[in-house]
Symmetry: C2
Amino acid sequence: MNPVEIKNRKEFTITCPIPVRDYPHVLLAHGGGGKLMHQLIEKMFKAAFESSELHKGRDAAVLQLGQGKTAFTSDSYVVRPLFFPGGDIGTLAVNGTVNDLAMAGARPKYISVSFILEEGLAMEALWRVVRSIRRAALEAEVEIVTGDTKVVDRGKGDGMYINTAGIGEITHAQDIAPQNIQTGDAILLNGDLARHGMAVMAVREGLEFESAIESDCAPLADLVGALLSAGVEIHCLRDLTRGGLASALNEIASGAQREISIDEALIPVREDVASACELLGLDPLYVANEGRFIAIVPRRDQEKALTIMRKHPLGQGACLIGTVGNRGSALVTLKSRIGAGRILDMLSGEQLPRIC
Amino acid sequence: MNPVEIKNRKEFTITCPIPVRDYPHVLLAHGGGGKLMHQLIEKMFKAAFESSELHKGRDAAVLQLGQGKTAFTSDSYVVRPLFFPGGDIGTLAVNGTVNDLAMAGARPKYISVSFILEEGLAMEALWRVVRSIRRAALEAEVEIVTGDTKVVDRGKGDGMYINTAGIGEITHAQDIAPQNIQTGDAILLNGDLARHGMAVMAVREGLEFESAIESDCAPLADLVGALLSAGVEIHCLRDLTRGGLASALNEIASGAQREISIDEALIPVREDVASACELLGLDPLYVANEGRFIAIVPRRDQEKALTIMRKHPLGQGACLIGTVGNRGSALVTLKSRIGAGRILDMLSGEQLPRIC
């Protein structure tokens, strides 16, 4: 996509681009990763901020700084509860940002950690999260170089919110973005779906399973780096957080204006996770993951990529789940287990609030 | 300062470094810019995150990326109320981060904008803030290249919190940091104090003045750039936000282990602002500013720097307010209007919560 033409930057409409009659107030779904969030981002934020980089729809911005290319991203984390099997808000805050950099093909180097703490938060809870952040940063090999501390009044803030921003170095010449996917490309997934979402929901809903479902929260940069340094051609990468696989595929299909089709029978979901989803009436294709991503590669690189992924601890369950179709429609279609095809839409409404 | 030696990085104490007997819970003052916040940052965050860059105590980290030097910073904004005379949370979020980059001597280039919105926030209020962000970014000449949107439940979040992270380019060879101040250096201030804090407090406390006190919120990078490109040698820069001038000077004195003395009679405070401070029992030296900074320069560059500052719209009231003393003690002393000297300590307790 060419840089967006910016005319008369100083002048700007005063009318709210979200119809106030339809949405007079912000809803939880505006942050849920589905249709309403995308409408808010597209119509309000992208329209007002007019950056060609924002329009590329990558997980991280790719910037030319001096001679080199740098990836830059930021996310806030508001997960409830703060602690869950397999991680906590600190683990999430480091890995989430590390993974957004990895999805731009960057090697994560530096992160910031900004806390919004609630007055009355137990100091021991903060310390526990700080230790998780330390551990996750060491594991992902990123240095925490700057930060900020704010405290808000008791009753606000749910214990704590964390924002992390990250900077990564891009040392290869590939251009990884939704726009670059091609007809016939293979869609590869690095493992089973829906663990993070169900780990958090199980705690929140007080569900008891035989053994706890643990979040899949993990840093993906090393695995992506292995693909890149082996010379695999990568057209697009996307981690499957809020809104899950279905929303990620819809974002990519819409960014590329290409059809995407996937096959339900090829998508791994652990049995206990599938049961938990059924119990709560959730579709695992829409549930958030924190250590899962898709790599969209030319068909000729499919086997090479899968071999590399399966050798890595975070890609042992790697598999092909679908292919990229023709330009024109931006639909995502799912071939179900019984063979019927249906359109897999972007999440609408709010399925899992406060999951990350 | 040499990089901190990091031994046995994988092992780490499990004991909370803040004595839980004294502070079992987070207090508002832990985010107020004073003693408790510094204790939390020094003892908990810096100890756990072990970055030599964090230990330098700059407003922004200075990173070697490829061939060039890059500044990187992030802040969250939780000001209450969201709108105040002279600005709003959006103006603050852009200028605050732009100014942190400027204080590292960088030219701000890219920022991220991450929203934490409260369910039920009026869409029109969000749009008003988005337009402020747009305007402030255009004025400061930074591009918004990435962002994030989260929504938290009604009753949390006070309407909205914003985090911005920023990246700036450093194109000069100077090393600007507290450690570099020298005996005899001049401490220059770019204008009158305490407007931002009093603008916010006046709204919050429902105070009525003849004319509203407006926040001094403004982007300082252009003014700093003018000093640098004129070849002024700059030892340290610091914007005077939370905790005000007094806390900033204490941070610098402590970072440099040098005495700093300032003269109250030389520090400009507008009459209406001084009256408002008196009414609320606040000392303007501790009140937050959002468009004020100090530049610490060698005495020989003092007049040159003041001349450049006074030519700039944001430095018309620039003046000398004090000097750097000897190494050894890290005290900040104030010569009062009646000639008596006293120690100007770091803010203790919480004077102005939620000011930025």
